[in-house]
């Protein structure tokens, strides 16, 4: 059971807190409210700030979150209503307005992310998604790093109470509870998710109590409208989390004085009585009254602070109006962080002679070699490490024995958690490289898609300030009689997202080389593993111990002059078999290009090959319709049309799921017969 009744030290009160601290807080609260109230004016004047979620009514808890945050030790994940949190954490009024009106000087990311998403990655005030609550997984992930590196600090995740309805929030808190991580989850409860009252979200009015059965977790309730109660709650939460190395939920009761945002009209669903009483409990007005009532400040002292804040906002406004806008030519900057550059194998080709190793050996040995190379490398996934078992296909066999449970460990069966905590943990320092087995089979990666998409955004959105250095391993494809959920090829979907690389080897040596490059690069790489080839003799090759394959370098597996075939993964071997057969039978010279890397794509090799042969066939295991081959075909027709002597054709799966019965599977997936038919037709065209 969670700890729910532990006492909270009353460190702050109107009577005991020193005057300078009270002054600082009043100044911040006034400054924040001036900015919050002013924000809609920028939209009215068509200057910007088209998304503004006012924080008024959350003043106490947001002040407290920012005040307990220490940029030297902690990580803060504010959500889109956390203006006061950000100011209190140290952002300036100018920085708030730069973000609001999306200037190039916006420290969150130069105007790339939505307004009202305040951040300063330089201080570990992280730039988070608009996808509400998804940063809880990042907080848990970086909390894992805090613990593993014995770092004295906490991760603080802040969110609205309605976002707790998201399944990944459960995953994050479950993980923090299970791993006993120093993470504070703050639920700012204003009673609404936009217009949806919290009774429509969950049965408990205090959603934190839904987690009361969790072990290793402390739950604290506080009045988020009250500065002192909020400060005492947050100080207690941080102290307890650090001392006990366990997570805390702080549920802060707030009021939302205004609409959810400027695109919401709360008068449509709140009556006058409610609108009146939320105004009555204005936290700033309450704090001001108490300063006077308990004679801590005189009226003229408060007025002077208010005047000072007004002058600051005026100056910040002027600076913001003079600040530069983002340069449209910069849009291609920071799409993905730099890849590792291979000096030994710049083309990703070798002449190594030695015993042939299976594809699974190539991956396993490279993982181990890279773990030896970089002590800040970690791997986790579902089913990845339990005694002699290392993954569903034993790809990670022996790793936990060699590198220990601190670096090689199982994850709960929660794909989004696997992906999201990778994104979080990589924030701790730039040397960290995370490898995740994204799902037991690529087919099960779909629950992780929201974190995958999120991760593709990070580098661009933060204007290069944060790069998630992650390799996502996925056992992919069919030909094992696996049916609908053990046969999918998902690269067609994954390659639509800027901000990731996608590689798909066919042979053991390329698997080893691409994996090494992925694990030494910055940014995210999806490493697709054709599971049907793990132990296939046809995919076994000699592998140099230090082999590296750069991204975006295709490999010509068989030179030819009559037709170019572009392929990858399982189908590479089928194409090579057919090409050899047609050479014997018909004397056809078919060039087989193993793409290896889909994103980035080796356009140069593709176009040069087409210019040489004049005909192109694209073969992949995924569906033809909307499969990755469509992109290759479009590239060829756009840039090499005048060299073509026939239509660009494609061979792939039918536009159906993959059936379980082997008869169905054979009818659906591409095979040598289908490839041969297509090649003969194209030869005769």
């Amino acid at each position: 059971m969670a700890f729910t009744d532990l006492p909270i030290a009353k460190i702050h009160s109107i009577k005991t807190t020193d005057k300078e601290t009270l002054r600082k807080w009043f100044h911040l609260l006034v400054l924040g409210r001036l900015l919050d109230d002013r924000a809609p004016n920028y939209l009215k004047q068509a200057i910007g700030w088209s998304y503004h979620a006012p924080y008024a009514g959350h003043d106490g808890i947001q002040l407290a979150i920012g005040q307990i945050f220490d940029r030297n030790t902690d990580h803060l994940f504010p959500y889109y209503r956390d203006m006061m949190t950000s100011l209190s954490a140290g952002l300036s009024a100018e920085e708030i307005i730069f973000n609001g009106i999306s200037k190039d000087t916006d420290v969150a990311g130069g105007g790339r992310h939505m307004s009202n998403h305040f951040a300063k990655p330089e201080w570990n005030v992280h730039n988070v998604s608009s996808c509400t609550g998804n940063h809880t997984l990042h907080a848990t992930g970086v909390g894992r790093a805090l613990k593993k590196y014995h770092h004295k600090g906490v991760a603080i995740s802040s969110q609205g109470e309605s976002s707790v309805s998201e399944g990944y929030v459960y995953e994050a808190i479950n993980g923090a509870s299970n791993e006993q991580l120093p993470v504070i989850f703050v639920f700012q409860d204003n009673g609404y998710g936009i217009s949806v009252p919290k009774k429509d979200q969950t049965a408990n009015r205090k959603v934190a109590n839904n987690f009361s059965g969790f072990k290793n977790l402390r739950i604290i309730h506080c009045n988020g409208k009250d500065v002192f109660d909020s400060m005492n709650a947050m100080l207690e939460a941080k102290k307890w989390a650090v001392e006990n190395q366990k997570p805390v939920i702080v549920q802060a009761n707030c009021v939302r004085i205004h609409s959810h945002s400027n695109s919401d009209r709360h008068e449509l669903y709140r009556d006058d009585y409610e609108l009146n009483y939320v105004n009555e409990y204005d936290p700033l007005a309450k704090y001001r009254r108490m300063l006077l009532r308990y004679h801590r400040f005189a009226e003229d002292e408060l007025t002077a602070i208010e005047s000072q804040a007004k002058a600051e906002v005026k100056a910040a406004h002027k600076a913001a109006m003079d600040a530069p806008d983002p340069n449209p030519e910069s849009i291609h900057d920071f799409v993905i962080a730099p890849a590792y550059v291979s000096t030994k194998y710049p083309e990703g080709i070798h002449n190594h002679q030695g015993p042939a190793k299976k594809l699974i050996e190539g991956i396993n040995e490279t993982l181990k070699a890279e773990f030896r190379h970089n002590p800040d490398t970690f791997i986790w996934g579902q089913d990845i490490a339990n005694k002699e078992k290392g993954g569903i296909f034993n790809v990670s066999k022996g790793m936990q024995q060699e590198f220990g449970v601190e670096r090689v460990f199982n994850a709960p069966i929660a794909e989004d958690f696997i992906m999201g905590t990778a994104n979080g943990m990589a924030r701790f320092n730039k040397n960290i490289r995370v490898v995740v087995e994204g799902a037991e089979f690529a087919d099960y990666f779909w629950p992780a898609m929201e974190q995958f998409v999120e991760t593709t955004h990070e580098y661009w959105r933060s204007k290069g300030q944060y790069s998630p250095n992650i390799t996502v391993r996925l056992a992919s494809g069919g030909y094992i009689g696996g049916g609908l959920y053990h046969s999918q090829s998902i690269e067609g979907a994954l390659t639509t997202f800027p901000g990731t690389r996608v590689v798909y080897p066919s042979y053991a040596d390329d698997a080893a080389g691409l994996l090494r490059t992925a694990m030494r690069s910055e940014g995210m790489t999806v490493f697709m593993e054709p599971k049907a080839l793990y132990n296939a003799p046809v995919a076994a090759t000699p592998i140099p111990d230090d082999f590296e394959v750069p991204f975006g370098k295709a490999r010509i597996r068989r030179p030819g002059s009559d037709i170019s075939v572009f392929t990858y993964g399982n189908t590479t071997h089928m194409v090579e078999e057919v090409a050899a057969r047609l050479a014997d039978e018909l004397g056809a010279q078919i060039e087989v290009v193993d793409l290896r890397s889909l994103l980035p794509l080796d356009e140069e090799t593709i176009l040069n090959s087409v210019k040489k042969t004049g005909k192109a066939l694209i073969v992949h295991e995924d569906k033809v319709f909307a499969g990755f081959g469509g992109e290759v075909a479009a590239l060829i027709t756009e840039k090499a049309f005048e060299y073509l002597d026939g239509p660009v054709r494609r061979v792939g799966s039918t536009f159906t799921p993959v059936g379980f019965n082997r008869i169905l599977e054979k009818a659906i997936l591409p095979n040598t017969e289908k490839i041969q038919d297509a090649l003969k037709a194209l030869l005769n065209y």
Binding site: R205, N209, N223, E280
Partner: protein, 167 residues
């Protein structure tokens, strides 16, 4: 013994209840005091007090009482008898029914005051309440949203009870 009746003069249901309470006492017996501007001196000038403490939001004191708490924490209430009433919503907020009443009661006891005016929990349906002491509320619980028709009698019975308990 003159009784001080402390409630927010701008409140609706709490003030309505105060008005009914006043009907059961003479003006010589009862003196209304606005809780929004209450001072420690006013609070200490009575040995019998009735406090109108509704529950706001999910189980909080109203801001005007909350702002008085730091002052209350400095008062020695030994020898004072305090009765508390407050409205809640047992259907809309069943987890925190009349919590405000319970929070105030705890503060009064913490400062040495004696609580009077306990009432039975029978006839109410809720999940939990900080005002619950065994099978009794440590004051008068009213529910204008769901049991408005019972308020008049409950107030009358309570006032009769207070007459004897304040002696």
């Amino acid at each position: 013994m003159k009784i001080g009746l402390f409630y927010s003069f701008h409140a609706k249901k709490t003030a309505q209840t105060a008005k009914r309470i006043q009907e059961h006492f003479s003006s010589e017996e009862l003196e209304p005091v606005n809780a929004e501007t209450v001072t420690p001196e006013q609070f200490m000038s009575f040995n019998a007090l009735i406090l109108g403490v509704p529950t706001w939001f999910d189980g909080e004191l109203p801001n005007y009482w909350d702002e008085f708490v730091p002052a209350l924490e400095d008062l020695n209430l030994t020898g004072k008898k305090v009765a508390i009433y407050g409205a809640g919503d047992q259907k809309g907020y069943p987890e925190n029914f009349v919590d405000g009443l319970g929070i105030m009661a705890q503060l009064i006891e913490q400062q040495g005051g004696t609580l009077v005016g306990f009432t039975s929990c029978e006839g109410y349906t809720y999940e939990s309440s900080k005002a619950e002491r065994g099978h009794q509320f440590c004051g008068l619980a009213l529910d204008y949203e769901n049991q408005a028709s019972k308020n008049k009698q409950r107030i009358a019975d309570w006032c009769d009870q207070l007459r004897s308990e304040f002696k």
